[in-house]
């Protein structure tokens, strides 16, 4: 365990160094990321110009929600985006072989190599939104909130890695890795907007709608244990399935050679 953590720290350090080398790049893309953040905030604003309540959420609660969404989004992107991209590319350009030879867990190695920092503005905006609109919370609630954030990030990461692993099985589909970014829209709104059969699917069986909602509910003193159970179960099952799928794909990949 300790070994893996120190490896991760090492990767993080290298990524930080690279950041200073490519300053202009960083500035530009941070600007782009900030632009998109404002873009998504705009949508909430548009909705609340027409109503004061969306599925039981008022504006202030929605801003806490939006802040949580941005934090999860920025953190997940920063840690995993580039790695997922490289992962799918490495399957085609042969560098995967090289990685598989290293004496550490392949999935780990593929998932944490690069950390990007261009989403830091987004993270900061999210935290500010939270700070400005939070009701009073206790320290234990904040800690629990952070734990839930990690859980949500874990769900997103696992889903991403799972879909990316399909790259082993298709001829050439560059936008497989765009599936999860598009699915983000699901948890960019509170789960209460989904009703009926769809709602049940998205909150129980494949509880993607809970990714942002559950941690937010904790801060708003409306926590629901069932949601945590659903998310946790989903995460565990998906993680197991992803690992199995990954190892099966590697076997197939190595069997044929390159």
């Amino acid at each position: 365990m300790k070994k893996y953590f120190s490896i991760w720290l090492h990767f993080a350090k290298i990524s930080l160094q690279r950041l200073f080398e490519y300053r202009a790049d960083f500035f530009l893309w941070s600007l782009v990321s900030t632009g998109w953040t404002i873009f998504s905030l705009l949508f909430y604003q548009i909705l609340f110009l027409q109503t004061s309540n969306i599925a039981g959420w008022n504006k202030q609660q929605m801003l806490v929600f939006a802040g949580t969404y941005m934090i999860i989004d920025a953190a997940t992107w920063s840690i995993f985006w580039r790695n997922i991209q490289n992962y799918t590319e490495s399957i085609f350009n042969g560098t995967l072989d090289f990685l598989l030879l290293q004496p550490i867990d392949a999935q780990f190695r593929l998932s944490v190599r690069h950390i990007s920092f261009t989403n830091v503005p987004r993270l900061i905006i999210g935290i500010i939104l939270l700070a400005l609109n939070l009701p009073t919370v206790t320290l234990s609630q904040v800690l629990m909130y952070i734990a839930l954030i990690f859980l949500s990030m874990g769900v997103i990461y696992t889903l991403w890695f799972f879909t990316a692993t399909f790259t082993f099985w298709v001829e050439k589909l560059d936008n497989i890795i765009e599936i999860v970014p598009t699915l983000r829209r699901i948890w960019s709104m509170p789960s209460d907007i989904y009703s009926g059969f769809v709602g049940a699917m998205l909150t129980i069986i494949i509880p993607l709608a809970l990714i942002t909602t559950t941690p937010t509910r904790l801060l708003l003193h409306q926590f629901r244990w069932q949601e945590l159970v659903a998310l946790l179960t989903f995460f565990i099952v998906l993680f197991g399935a992803t690992r199995a799928f990954f190892h099966y794909s590697i076997k197939k990949y190595s069997g044929i050679g390159s």
């Binding site: 530009l28 782009v32 949508f43 548009i46 599925a55 497989i176 829209r185 989904y194």
Partner: protein
């Protein structure tokens, strides 16, 4: 005798551009799986948009002067416009310019911008064909769910809408050319491409009809041509008939496009000169 020779030359010209168009089609075909996935990914957010607005409409029949049905038609219209009129060749060609891969286009008897646009047209045809099925499925699904009620079809609406669509295509192509030509001068042109996306998205009205935006953005958007490519024609489709303001905006759009054509031709001339004097 002279006329038949001219005709032959024109025929050969047309054949040339048809071949480029064909390549665009074949490329599109080769990438059909990817294109199909893109279209599904493009359509998907519409569901979330509709779910969001359903929550807002809870208990009300109109919001911001529009019924839910009209709003949904708006979003469907936006989907059509984006898939028919928007071009995305700037990503690939910015890279080609950066790495000097465009040398061959200067050496062969062919004009680079014309090549790019004709090929994009061919590609677009393929995209449109791939788009039809999922879109129609979505549309019929929404009608079946009772979310779309009362869409009026008139020929005047159709013609005006198509006119907007044509101008939107030319306009978006010019914007993309702007990004590609910028690459002749600067390395960072690809980030300009992102700003193009964002700006056309915000001020065009992909999130909602412009009348729903905060006042200060509406004021800015009124000065910019982007809404003419998206929000205006989409709202037209959602309405019952063509208004005078629509025709006025169409005329304004036409003027914008003509001016932009002159600007971009000027830019191309200078980009060519820069490339052939500095070697790229």
């Amino acid at each position: 005798m002279w006329i038949s020779r001219k005709v032959l030359l024109v025929k050969r010209r047309i054949k040339k551009w048809l071949a480029v168009f064909r390549i665009g089609l074949i490329q599109g075909l080769a990438f059909r799986a990817e294109t199909f996935l893109w279209i599904i990914l493009d359509i998907f957010p519409t569901f979330i948009l509709i779910a969001s607005w359903l929550a807002v409409f809870h208990g009300k029949t109109t919001v911001g002067g529009q019924s839910l049905s009209q709003l949904i038609i708006y979003y469907l219209a936006v989907l059509i416009i984006i898939n028919l009129a928007e071009v995305h060749f700037e990503e690939r060609w910015v890279e080609n310019v950066r790495y000097g891969k465009i040398d061959y286009y200067f050496v062969k008897p062919i004009s680079l911008p014309t090549y790019i646009i004709v090929q994009a047209l061919g590609s677009k045809l393929m995209t449109f064909v791939t788009f039809l099925l999922p879109f129609l499925a979505l549309m019929f699904g929404l009608i079946h769910a009772g979310l779309i009620t009362g869409f009026t079809f008139t020929f005047s609406k159709l013609f005006v809408f198509l006119a907007f669509l044509l101008l939107a295509f030319i306009f978006d192509s010019i914007l993309s050319f702007f990004v590609v030509f910028a690459a002749f001068w600067m390395d960072e042109a690809s980030s300009i491409g992102h700003f193009k996306w964002m700006v056309t998205g915000i001020f065009g009205g992909t999130l909602a009809p412009l009348t729903f935006y905060p006042q200060w953005i509406q004021k800015i958007a009124a000065f910019l041509p982007f809404k003419l490519a998206l929000s205006t024609p989409a709202q037209l489709l959602a309405r019952n008939s063509v208004l005078h303001s629509d025709l006025r905006e169409l005329g304004l759009f036409f003027v914008y496009v003509v001016v932009c054509v002159f600007i971009i031709r000027f830019m191309w001339k200078h980009a060519q000169y820069k490339y052939t004097s500095a070697g790229g």
